[in-house]
Amino acid sequence: MIDMLVIIDASHRDAFDKLTLHRTPGALPFAGKYRLIDFTLSNIKNAGVINAAIFPLGNYRSMQDHVGSGKRWNLDRRNDGLFILPPKNMLLPGEEMLSFQRMHEHIEYFRRSPQKYVMITPPSIVWNTDIEKLLDAHKASRAHISEIMHGGKRLKTFIIEKRLLLNYILEYDMIPYKTLKDLIVDPKIDKNMIDHEGYTSMITNPYVYLKSNLDMLKFEIGKTIFSNDYPIISKEKPAPPTFYGHDARIANSMISSGTSVYGTVENSIIGRDCIIQKKSAIKNSVIMNNSVIEEGVQLNNVILDKGTVVKQNTVLEGTPINPFVTQKEQIITDHSGLKVLMVASEVHPYAKTGGLADITGGLSRALSKKGIEVSVAIPLYKSVKENYHESYQFVTSHTTEYKGEKQEVRVHVLYKSKVKYYFLENFKYFERPSLYGYEDDCERFSFFNIVLEEVMDSLDDFDLLHLHDWQASLMPVLMKVKRKKPLKSVLTIHNIDYQGLCNPEVLSGRVMPFESERLNFLEIGIAEATRITTVSPTYREELRHEYYAKNLTYPLARRDRDFYGILNGISSKHRPIKDPLILSKYDVNDTFPKTENKLFLQRKMKLSMGVRNFVVAMVSRITEQKGFNLILEAMDHFLEKHDTVQFVLLGTGDESIVERLKILKDAHPTQISLNIGYDSAVPNYLYAGADLFLMPSRVEPCGLGQMIAMRYGTLPLVHKTGGLADSVEPYDPISKQGTGFMFDTFEVEALENTLENAYHVYLEEKDVWKSMVRRAMQVDFSLDTQAQKMLEIYQTLFNE
């Protein structure tokens, strides 16, 4: 018996995307017949621990179902045993680690448990460890708290005396730390690091998930994890042994009970009760329980969630870094020749006011490279007509009755890089100098949707519509009222603040399946589209809350199961080795020229030139949302404290903030370069020359600047929100790893501390900074990845 209780910290969701949409990471199937939490529970059992508590995130049904009373792990006890301690707020977003506050919600549990020590560990580590040895090492160190690590990597695993932990829990609202992970960084804490040898893998994303599964196929690793003396115990369902048919071909694979194999399986893990039909080939993949692989299917680097059906002759191909991931119980069909019509208000390079055009354009091209036949439909704006009338060709014309008038629409097509661009020409509504900003915008785009719906069948035989923002949101409902079999549709929300609010008159007599005094285009789109996506996983989570989703909180909540967050990609043209707009080109292997770019930037911005100066840059719209209230105050202090810090800002926006920025500039005239109204279209030399890229937005659905900055080796400093949280890996002072800096609470002090931290690393830990720069430059933000994730959604829409 061991005098320690174990807290299983299942309070985080990590970057699993679809795999953890409906389960916590601990409940993820692993190595065929296990779930991740089995490793932790089995370590608990094998060490003789008799008191364990799971702190789950919101949806813990599948974990509850799996662990039951804990009997299999000897935790079904009269005294102590297994506890599941849910959060008071079930909608709580995932946390990085179990907070003292959440422990405080169950303070009674800590008070009642008689054990002297507490271990806190996540349920998502694949390891077979002797917990007793870890405790002995902690005791021998005489430290207050021990952190268990593996080869310099943190495992969110700590051992502490319960008496001390209770103090932190009781004072959670008075101490500056939320978790043990934060606390241990404090230099005043008497801490100890224990390095755990032997195979250890903390599963935090699909890449590590696939890799660790396949590691089990390396015999030398597998035998240490699945040891006879310290077995890993799971809840087992009844299933007969695996059946191999006459044509099965197997190499280096683990195949669980109940599965029937008639095809080829190589270097893969197959779960329980799957069927793998003949002439199919599975390589380097993880197939979870109850999946069906039909004839002629080919899979490589794929993670199929439970109950996925892959229809005949479908080819799914991911990469080891970006495996193709499906969601539970989906039917995946062959996508070759799938015809998708993108409907948007702008597309690069023909019509662009902002980021939306880059995304619709980039995504269309990336999807067409993956074998999708992509078409794009936008209104023929005046600017497009002027610039491209010689390039496009007339296709068809269509006349319709709209608001008491006959309106003619002429459709033109332009075929470029395998993508078809359809332009809808109508003098009254579309041929204006600007794309939008007119009083009748609602009417214009209502008309756009109505005529597109009427004319699209004469353009092509589309399989699917991909709609962008409110300007395309009426398409599903228009199809629904007119067609027996409306096309499937995916609606992407780029900006939830623009919803298209107007009078139902804009429908001009087109019937709606509901009556309303006011139309909200986006709300209708959310209700009627087959699937909904937004621009980052974290923003998708944030949109569950009224603070972010406002009036659409409830409509989105109703579509929670069909709603996905996919991080936008950026074009591969953002590369410092190919960029003609910067002084010295460089890449990850040699970042030295960055210094020359820095000097160039300083000269151009009329700042004192000096390699040792710390250049903080911003390229941003100047609005409150971008965090300027914090910046003004924090920067004032930061510049005051360090005269070697320089601040460069490019942007336009809110006059009152600009005024305040000018005051700031007057306070630090030699340290600040303000470039208001400056052409921010080509700020590449700024990305190349700066040291730190500041982007402390209060809200940021995706964000582009931080990704470009990282490509250029400029470390971002961001607020933990939306796409910023998804694209930046925050610097960790213990493991010394990260791709940028991040602060959590949206307060001046937090930003200021993080600026100080960043500057400290820059000055004092040059090697760490360099390795962070290299890491940041290598993060994959490709359009190809974004397109693949979109494809994962497209391919689930067609069953039969």
Binding site: G32, K71, A239, P241, T242, Y244, G245, N252, G258
Partner: protein
């Protein structure tokens, strides 16, 4: 809760014709279909029928079986209301209660039946292979008002092996004969599955004066003699009583050649439960041939496996060749060895380069290998 029906599962059989498979274990503990044991069928049938008060009557080599069944959690029979009870021979005031025949064994545990006082008592064997809903049998019995109902079936082989039942037009049993020399072609075979109305069972067993008595040999003829109302219930599903090695082998092979017989993959209708091995899924290490075979958890396969069944934790080393064989748990087949037409028992270690190719199905264990090795040295 009042118990409607209670089950007595007879697991004391020696299974002497299965020797040496049953040398160290009772017949119901014999491995089947890779990861199962024979007793899984009866226990799964019981739990599927929600018959959760079960007496397991043991005598011969009970340890491995008791250790396997434990509290019955695998079959959800670890419940406070009833559940699994091991009924072992015991010493009483009257002397040692050594079991002499199946019916004799049940009579010794009359106290157990009295304790639960059910309406019906089901008498079952722990070593039959079949998936059956006992409620249908009990309902038919209750509806007919008979004193006793026997489960019967039409065997796929000769009736001569079985207890043979003839019935009249109303379904009443007219006569019964154990292993008759010249059975009536239209007769049925007894499954060894009986349901008694409790009073009737008590009466028949209690006024028996014979020292040794069995259900088949003694109780049924006696019930017929004494004009009890004995009826049959016809079971049309797959039923096998694997009395011999040949039968055990064939029934296993049915899983490969006729998976539709037992439908082990059907978890909705009469699923078959077995105790977890707590082993990882098996690992096929090299690009070798596996054809028409069943492979269980924990196996490491580097050789060729054709038309064979591997139990949990079997190791097949490089270039070994397994064909038409059953390999029981934790056996090891060394490099380059060939095994054909064999049943390799638990924990057997076959050294590299061993050739075990037989015309008739042959049981291999460490002792037989020792003997073979000895011959080789002469």
């Amino acid at each position: 809760m009042k118990t409607r029906a209670l089950a007595m599962v007879l697991v004391g059989g020696r299974g002497s014709r299965l020797h040496p498979i049953t040398k160290r274990k009772a017949k119901p503990a014999v491995s089947f279909g890779g990861k199962y044991k024979l007793v899984d069928f009866v226990l799964s049938n019981l739990t599927n029928a929600h018959l959760t008060t079960v007496g397991v009557v043991t005598q011969y080599e009970p340890y491995s079986l008791m250790n396997y069944i434990q509290h019955g959690a695998t079959w959800d029979l670890d419940i406070p209301d009833g559940g699994i009870h091991f009924l072992t021979p015991y010493t009483s005031y009257e002397g040692d209660q050594w079991q002499k025949g199946t019916a004799h064994a049940v009579r010794q545990h009359q106290y157990f039946i009295d304790h639960y006082n059910p309406e019906y008592v089901l008498i079952l064997s722990g070593d039959h292979i079949y998936k059956m809903d006992y409620n249908n049998l009990i309902d038919a019995h209750a509806k007919s008002g008979a004193h006793m109902t026997m489960g019967v079936f039409t065997p796929n082989d000769s009736l001569k092996r079985y207890g043979v039942v003839n019935i009249d037009s109303e379904g009443k049993v007219t006569d019964f004969e154990e292993k008759p020399a010249t059975p009536n072609a239209h007769a049925y075979a007894s499954m060894g599955v009986y349901v008694f109305t409790q009073e009737c069972l008590k009466n028949i067993l209690n006024d028996e004066t014979q020292e040794e008595f069995d259900f088949g040999k003694d109780v049924i003829p006696k019930a017929l003699r004494e004009n009890y109302d004995v009826r049959t219930y016809r079971f049309d599903g797959y039923f096998r009583d694997v009395g011999t090695i040949e039968n055990l082998y064939k029934t296993n092979m049915d899983l490969l050649d006729h998976p539709e017989y037992l439908k082990l993959n059907d978890y909705n209708h009469l699923p078959l439960f077995t105790r977890s091995s707590d082993m990882p899924p098996h690992h096929v290490m090299r690009h070798d041939l596996i054809k028409t075979s069943l492979i269980s958890d924990g196996c490491l396969v580097s050789g060729t496996v054709i038309h064979s069944i591997l139990s949990n934790g079997v190791t097949i080393k490089e270039d070994a060749h397994i064909e038409d064989s059953l390999i029981f748990s934790s056996a090891v087949v060394g490099e380059n060895s060939v095994v054909k037409n064999a049943i390799v028992l638990e924990d057997t270690i076959i050294l590299p380069n061993t050739e075990l190719v037989f015309d008739e199905v042959t049981v291999i264990d460490n002792e037989t290998l020792w003997a073979l090795g000895g011959e080789g040295n002469d």
